[in-house]
């Protein structure tokens, strides 16, 4: 009995006791995700192919899914820093690189309003899926097509200010947030979308990362076009500031609605190793969380991207893109089942030569189980049924149905 009193009864208790012993001004999360993969996909875009999946039929076997370190440090009650370091084991340019790093200043509410300012590099608030540590999805391994695009090509490198009216506190209704951002260094967004089209995967391009060029030729670039050596996304080319603005309505844990308009305001006449891609979108999203641990998420996005002839700036290429998905997920204690349907497509509405566009849909089924706070196993089946006209240039079938099954074993360590 004395022993029972002296010794912590459970790991959770032990964690909280050791937490009591030290200040928690700094928190670390180290997550290691190892995969077993089976795929019949076309050569992956990560190999310069036209396949839409991270792993192709040469990748069957074991891989590093992702290793990341998520750090949060608190300077004061309201000012903190957040950074995420990653490695994917996919022959990336930098073995370890940063996906997000920003200062977060979140005031205490005054008079029912709260201001929040983020400065640094972070994601625009579009995804309703990627709410896990390190911007992962707690519902599946691979993100939806829309949120995959955000992980690959978008980063706000600048500032975002939001004001939240805390109606849940003052009126028992919900919270209304208005947000707006000014940023630079995202003039390449649209590049990967124009070559490969939509994809579903779990990779996030780090700030200094690069993806292989996919040899589909539909543009008239100057001879010094850097993107032929690889796709990079976080450059400032035209010295113009881009913006996005939007609103969120949140009702406790029950309902989250979000709408965003984005425009990077790229100058089509500018070229500095790469085109300035003029990319705009509108997006809507809804997440409903019901009793019995049911979650439903739907997002829709419609946008376009364009580049110009250099130096005239006359538009030489334009691509419209649209996608939506519906996700249903149910938790059963430590177990979670998720099903998601994605629909996506792009349409090249202007161009001088070959037209590259895609259309397709995808089904994702995932099962995740948490053995304890540290160990998780996830299984996912992903089927992408799509066409990409540029595959002709790669000697690949334009239309393909690609299957990929992944088993992830994940260990996380928290301080």
């Amino acid at each position: 009995m004395a022993c029972a009193l002296l010794w912590p009864a459970s790991p959770a208790l032990a964690g909280s006791e050791s937490g009591d012993a030290s200040d928690d001004a700094q928190s670390f999360l180290l997550s290691v995700d190892l995969r077993a993969v089976a795929s019949d996909g076309l050569p992956s875009y990560l190999e310069g192919g036209g396949g839409k999946q991270r792993f192709d039929d040469n990748d069957d076997g074991f891989h590093v899914g992702r290793i990341f370190l998520d750090y949060r440090g608190r300077f004061t009650d309201t000012l903190s820093v957040h950074a995420t370091l990653n490695t994917y084991g996919d022959d990336d340019k930098n073995p370890v690189d940063v996906t997000e790093m920003y200062l977060d200043w979140k005031t205490y509410p005054h008079g029912g309003w709260r201001w929040r300012t983020k400065v640094g590099a972070f994601y625009p608030p579009v995804s309703l899926e990627n709410r896990g540590p390190g911007w992962s999805s707690p519902y599946s391994i691979s993100a939806s097509a829309i949120n995959t695009w955000f992980g690959e090509e978008f980063r706000t490198i600048g500032a975002e200010v939001s004001a939240t009216w805390l109606g849940s506190q003052s009126h028992g209704t919900g919270d209304l947030t208005l947000y707006a951002s000014l940023y630079k260094w995202n003039d390449d967004v649209g590049l990967l979308m124009s070559f490969r089209g939509w994809s579903l995967n779990d990779r996030q391009t780090p700030l200094f990362g690069r993806l292989p060029f996919i040899p589909i030729f539909f543009l008239t670039p100057p001879p010094n076009a850097e993107f032929r050596n690889g796709f990079e996304f976080f450059h400032e080319i035209d010295n113009r500031i881009g913006y996005y603005a939007g609103a969120e309505w949140k009702q406790s844990n029950f309902l989250t609605l979000r709408a965003t308009h984005y425009d990077n305001r790229a100058d089509l006449s500018k070229f500095e190793y790469d085109f300035a891609w003029l990319t705009r979108y509108d997006s809507l999203g809804a997440r409903v969380e019901l009793p019995r641990d049911w979650t439903l998420i739907g997002q829709w996005l419609s946008g376009d991207t364009a580049v110009g002839f250099i130096p005239s700036g006359v538009k030489q290429y334009e691509l419209d893109m649209d996608s939506w998905f519906l996700l249903a997920s149910k938790g059963f204690g430590r177990h979670r089942l998720t099903a998601r349907y994605d629909d996506f497509g792009s349409d090249q509405t202007m161009g001088t030569g070959f037209r590259n566009w895609d259309a397709g849909h995808a089904w994702t089924f995932a099962y995740l189980v948490d053995f304890n706070d540290s160990w998780q196993v996830a299984v996912e089946s992903l089927t992408i049924d799509a066409m990409l006209t540029g595959r002709v240039m790669l000697g690949e079938p334009v239309h393909a149905t690609e299957h990929q099954v992944q088993l992830a074993v994940r260990y996380s360590w928290r301080n």
Binding site: S16, G19, S22, D23, D24, R114, N130, R131, L290
Partner: protein
């Protein structure tokens, strides 16, 4: 949570009341007649005279933080009570309120002391956490020593009440009825069985789902 016996003791210790006393039982039901639990019930003298018990200034109550929720979600205390916020979670919280009855900010970091908070003005204090927006809690600060919350059968019974006229109020964040129908005057006299039933006109809000179940998920 104060027991009826303790409340009876409180009631008897209040100076200036005659010793004749009677218990009051209250039930709250929804439009379909189903009991509504966790509803705050407060009985206070209708003439507005302050009923201060000596014990109130020394009283401590607790509003814990567990799995990123306030526990209990609704705490009812008498004005003059100190409330401890122990934070049983392994993560930090930053509790705040901007309610007129008690605006305050209280960081609950691991390893650093956080003092109790004195609630000395009557009213509803809505609690939030500046780190976890989904956390929502309420402290109902009563101006009377006779208070409690309905049980799973929607019932609450007072201790012995001295003879007199009282204002009987009920409150819950889940109730949508207008304030007018949530209080009434009652006379505590010689009748033996004093029972009051509040039948709500509007459906109560469902308790908030907690699908994240304490998991470290962000809003983004």
């Amino acid at each position: 949570m104060k027991t009826p016996l303790f409340q009876a003791f409180l009631a008897l210790s209040v100076a200036g009341y005659c010793t004749a006393a009677q218990a009051l039982s209250v039930q709250v039901v929804d439009p379909a007649g189903r009991p509504v639990a966790d509803v705050v019930v407060v009985v206070s003298p209708s003439d507005g005279r302050a009923v201060k018990t000596e014990s109130a200034n020394r009283a401590h109550a607790q509003m814990d933080q567990r799995n990123r929720e306030f526990v209990p979600q609704v705490l009812v205390i008498e004005a003059g009570t100190w409330v401890d916020f122990p934070n049983s979670d392994s993560v930090s919280h930053q509790v705040y309120s901007f309610s007129p009855a008690k605006p305050f900010q209280l960081p609950l970091y691991k390893g650093s002391a956080h003092p109790p908070v004195l609630f000395d003005r009557a009213g509803v204090v809505t609690l939030g956490c500046n780190i976890h927006d989904n956390m929502l809690g309420y402290i109902y600060v009563a101006d009377s020593p006779w208070f409690g919350k309905t049980d799973i059968d929607g019932r609450w019974a007072s201790g012995a009440l001295p003879i007199g006229r009282y204002d009987l109020r009920i409150w819950s964040p889940r109730i949508r009825d207008t304030a007018d129908s949530l209080h009434r005057l009652i006379d505590v006299g010689d009748r033996l069985d004093l029972k009051e039933t509040f039948k709500l006109d509007r459906k109560v809000k469902a308790p908030a789902a907690q699908p994240a179940n304490g998991k470290p998920w962000d809003d983004y």
